[in-house]
Structure formats: C-alpha cells, structure tokens
C-alpha cells in the first residue's frame, strides 16, 4: 500500500486450492482517498471536456429532443470549472465543430462559456448518424492533451446507420482507452448494444434518458463527476507466472466491464489494463488466473497487481499479491471467498439479463422466462435491489426464491431498455 499516493489496493481471495487445481480467483479493491482534499484547491491536473451532441434529423421530432439537448449542453458548459479546456461537437453522418470554430479546445472562462452557449442556441438538425466520425473528431481534439484528464459526453437518439459496423469497430479499436466517454441515449430508438460498445472501449458509462426534461440534471451530474477526477490514466499492471494464463480481468463495481481485451503487453509476463481517470472513489476488479497445477504444500504468487500511472516513467501507486497454495485439506480449499462469490453472482446476473433480453427479442419466450427467472432469484440473493426493481417492470414474479416468473404481456419499451442499459450496475456485498 502506498498511503502517499492516495491509492490503496486490497486483495480478497481464498488462496487455497485442492491439489491439481489451476484456477485462482481474486477480487481486487482499488480505493483512492485524500486526492485534492485541500479546501478550494483546484486539482493540479489539466482537464479537457468534449461534449458531443447528436444533431441528426431524428433529433428534430419531437421538437423537445433537440431543445432539451441544447439546454443540457448549455448546463454542462456552465458547470465547467474555469481553466478547463473544452469543445462542443455536433454529430450527424459527419462531425463538425460547434464551438470553437476551429478544430481545437479553448479554456473555459466567463466569455468563452457565453460564446459556447450562443453557438449551441443556433444548432440545427439534419442528416444521418455515424458515431465513429464523432469519436474520431473528439480523439483529434484530445490528442494535444496527453497528460490531462480527458472526458467526453456523447448524446444520441438513434441507431448508427451511416457507417458499417466494421468501420465503427475500427474506429473504436483505434480510440479505445484514449479518453473516457460517458454515453447517453435519449428516447427509445437507439441501440443499447451500440452505445455499450462505445462506453466499454472508452471506459465510460451508458444510460438511458427516457424523458428529455431529465437531460439537464444528468449532464450536470456527469460534468461535475468528471471535474472531480484528479488523476488521469491509471492502469492495472498485472504480472503472471510463466506458463500461467490471465483468464480475465473485469471491473465488477460500480458496473460490470470486461477489460480483458483492453490489456496491453507492457513487459515480460506483464500486461496493463486501462482504468481511466480517478477521483476519490472505490472500484472492484475480479481477476482470474490459470496457473500450472501445483502439488500439495506448494505455495506461489499467482499474480502481482500494481496500480501505475501512465507516461514514460510510470509511478507505482500501490501493489498487492494474488497467491496460490495447494492443500488437501477440504475445509481450506472448499471455502469460496465471499467477495468472489458475490461478484460471480453479480456477473451472472448481468449475463442472464442480457441472455433473457436477446431470447425475448428472438421470440424464444421460454428461454427468456427462465433467464429472467434466474435473474430475479440472483438479484434477490445478492441484494441488488436496483436491478430487482428494473426486472419487476418486465416480469411478474411468482416466487422470488426459486425464480419463478411470468413475462408481462405488455412491457413499455423504455422499461426493457432501462433493464438493458442498467443491468451491469452492481452492488457491494451486504456484509463487509
């Protein structure tokens, strides 16, 4: 642990394995406290905020959508701390600058904020939707600010129809991890899967804003949240033993995000996973490593987790070990660590909800019923009340315990999409 850095790293696991077993599971809790605690002290780190608004033709109707989007963006601009660099992008099948005119960011102050709001007021809607182009423009705006906290907000109301999924995928692969992007879908005509791809690649969140009137508060919350970040580009650096395999690395709190594919080999037996920027907060990660099977009595380090800053001379903020020890004593190896068990349940919950939604869309109602039933039981067992409430709008629960449910005959699309976008949110174990 490194108290000075403000970061701590805690490992929760049962290191005991039965002789011959290979899979080591651990939950790693990363907590940052005391970052910028000084009263009124602005974070020393530079910050850049880019707001991306969908201005495709579909935003025009109902008229409230573009009006609400404009107002929400204005509120977000108002919320920027003076000194933060910012820009506003309008996106349809192309991406264009709303403010400033040129392809760069400007420092937020009294007069630039007024200018930006005036430019937002003149926004008009037209054209189609190609989100990849928006993200590329944002990426170019962020490029000169390598060490800054880089955050974008993306608001859309429709499907990505004016570029191929391949083009979109290429763009995402190119910009992945370069900035943090929180995505918001307004109305119910957008694709949760699409926005989730963006938020996953860009370490952000995705949410549905059913009512345009709620946009303002949400934008304000997002900018405030982003302004509170003070350490940019923290990475999880994981060493594994030779002949071992890093099976997966997932963020499991506050949401489930699989980071496995974002890992970059950064040294011998070492892989780095981006976690974006940090304020005072706490996140949990589930790490699974497959090690060569050991003999009873053997002990090893199955993984060495370090939290590092980016740049040419990375600083280690905190570190901890994931261990393995083989035993033939049943009472040791049969214990499942409470944290690991809890988050395994939370991941399964997110997975069965997605499976249920896909089955329902495909018309396989039996499968959908079983999956949602399992989800209801899991949500209850793991104490995830928010997800339980979302499920209640899609199914009638006959028995919580066994997860016996009936699909509701009439489901509002907004409820189904809310379940889709919010089902990756997790909770901590009830007892610490």
């Amino acid at each position: 642990m490194n108290a000075e850095s403000g970061f701590t790293l805690k490992v929760s696991q049962n290191k005991f394995l039965v002789g011959g077993a290979r899979e080591v599971n651990a939950v790693v809790t990363v907590e940052s406290t005391g970052l910028d605690d000084g009263p009124g002290q602005a974070p020393a780190t530079e910050a850049v905020e880019v707001i991306i608004l969908d201005t495709s033709a579909s935003m025009e109707w109902p008229i409230l959508k573009i009006v609400a989007a404009r107002q929400a963006a204005m509120k977000a601009v108002d919320n920027l701390r003076d000194g933060v660099s910012f820009a506003v992008i309008a996106g349809n099948h192309l991406a264009s600058m709303v403010y400033p005119r040129g392809e760069h960011t400007v420092e937020a102050n009294w007069s630039t904020k007024i200018e930006a709001k005036a430019a937002l007021g003149g926004l008009i809607t037209s054209g189609g939707t190609a989100m990849g182009t928006w993200l590329q423009l944002a990426d170019r705006l962020f490029a000169p600010h390598k060490d800054a906290i880089r955050h974008a907000i993306l608001l859309t109301d429709g499907k990505n129809e004016h570029e191929t999924p391949e083009q979109f995928g290429e763009t995402l692969a190119k910009v992945a991890g370069r900035f943090v992007c929180d995505c918001r879908g307004i109305g119910t005509d957008w694709e949760p899967d699409e926005l989730r791809r963006v938020s996953s690649a860009l370490l952000g969140t995705v949410d549905i804003i059913p009512d345009p009137n709620d946009l303002e508060a949400d934008f304000r919350a997002m900018t405030e949240h982003a302004m509170n970040k003070s350490v940019a580009d923290v990475g999880l650096r994981i060493w594994r033993p030779q002949a071992a395999r890093l099976k997966f690395v997932k963020q499991v709190l506050p949401t489930v995000e699989d980071l496995t594919h974002l890992g970059v080999e950064s040294g011998r037996l070492i892989r780095d996973f981006p976690t974006g920027s940090w304020g005072n907060e706490s996140r949990d990660y589930h790490i699974c490593i497959e090690v060569p099977p050991g003999e009873v009595g053997q002990e090893m380090r199955a993984g060495w987790v370090r939290l590092v800053t980016s740049g040419d001379a990375p600083e280690v903020l905190a570190s901890a070990n994931i261990l393995a020890e083989w035993t033939d004593e049943e009472r040791f190896y049969t214990q499942i660590d409470a944290q690991v068990a809890h988050y395994t349940g939370q991941q399964e919950l997110a997975n069965v909800i997605q499976a249920g939604l896909h089955a329902k869309r495909a018309g396989d109602l039996d499968t959908a019923t079983t999956r949602f039933g399992r989800a209801v039981a899991l949500a209850r067992q793991t104490g995830n009340e928010a997800t339980a409430a979302l499920l209640d709008k899609v199914v009638d629960v006959i028995d919580y315990e066994s997860g016996t449910v009936r699909l509701k005959s009439m489901v509002e699309k907004v409820d189904e999409m809310s379940l889709d976008t919010r089902s990756t949110r997790t909770v901590r174990t009830r007892k610490e």
Binding site: G20, P241, V296, E325, D328, E329, E330, R331, D366, L378
Partner: protein, 263 residues
Amino acid sequence: MPTCPAGHPSDDAEYCETCGARIASSSTPSTSAPSISTQNVFEPSISAPSISGPSMSATTVLGVTSPDPVQVCPECGDRLTDRFCEGCGFDALHRQVRRPASPVPRNANPTPGGWAGSTTSGRSWTGGGIDWIAVVSAERAYYERLMAETGSDPATLPYPSRLPERQYPLTSQFLRIGRRSVGRGIQPDIDLSLPPEDPAVSHEHALLLAKPDGTWSLVDLGATNGTLLNDEPEPVPAHLEVPLQNGDRIYVGAWTVITLRKG
C-alpha cells in the same frame, strides 16, 4: 541472486519472478498451512481413481508439468472433475464402490462455519454400525400427479430425460436437503441443484435428523412447495419432526424422491 525451487534466478527474494514459486522457504509455516492427518481423512482414491485429484503424481516441478490425468465419466463421456458428473449427474463414488467396506465418515474434519448461516458445528458421525442410505432419484408418477394437481404446463418444467440414482450414506447427525446457493452461502448435503436441477426445491428445503436411538426423522424447513411423505396427500407440517422408517419415500420439488434404506 536467489534461485527458486525450479531453478530460475530471481531478483525478487520472496516469489520467483519467472514462475511465481515461493522462494523464502525458511519462514514458519503459515498459521493456515494445513497439518495433514491422512488416517482420518476420507481418501476418495480408494474408490474412484483420484477424482478430486489431490494425489496427482503427474505434476512434477512447478511450471514444468505433465498433463493432468483426465477423468472421464463412464456414463456420458464428459470430463469428470468432481464426485458428480456435470454433464449427467453420474455419481462416480458409488458407481465405483457400491458399499464401502467400512462406514465412511463423509467429513472427518468438521468444516468450520464457513458457509454463512449453516450450522455445521454439530457435525459428527453417529452411525454406530447401522448403515442408513438416502437414495435420490426421480419419479414420473409423482411428477405427473403434481403437474395435474397444480395445473402446471409440463412444457415449462419438463421431466428430466435422465436422473441417475445418487446415494448418500447418512453418516452425520443431520443432512440438509436443498439447492446450492453461492450468493447466500447455502451448501446442502443433498444438493438438488446438481443436474438435472430440480427448480421447485427450495434452497433450504428439509433436514434429515439422526435420533439417539439410531433412527432418523424428517423436518420440513418451511419450503415453498412443501414436502410429501410416501402416499400421504398432504405435505408434512413445517418445522416438525416426522419419524422415518426403512423404505420411506420423501417427495420434494417437481420430481425428486428420496428413499431411505437401512442396512
């Protein structure tokens, strides 16, 4: 420079930086390091060829291993990683040894109260020479009666295509009947979440209790769908002990029947 047991030089003196093996071997054995007393521990290797595999001889030096001997289920050909096959539920233990030569203590080392909420403290073997066995299987007649009585659609809860008999020797003071729940830390002794899972069984469904006189009784734990005994049309009262006799049939869930056999 320190060298690990596998011969890798390592800058890290505690764990090898190549294979992770612990280097500092002189340290006192960690408090949790198990002291192994094999004579009390039930060795599955006498029955099935090391199903739980603690006596793997194939493993050599860490990092340089020969492949595990893979156990294959003789019923369905799936890989066998535990006593019960994950594919078909085949009970490898009792297939291999139908009747243990001597009564087998299921758990010679009492499990500490690790499973939250479970009461394992009173766990000790009491079978003084009398072998009681609980046999778990499925009964179609019960299933069909239940479906008809509740007006359920058999399509939503189909009768399992196969349910191999599982035998549980009654060797502790009580056995919990239910379905495993990782989230709630429930690990029943007779776990009906094993495939094919009987979803109508509650997680904590019922108990089999050993009586001082060597007989057994049944306690329903307030299960959602109740517990039936033999041909009684009404479920047994919840939370009350019901004495059991040799040959009694306990019906739980949608199709599960647990038959008690003595000797």
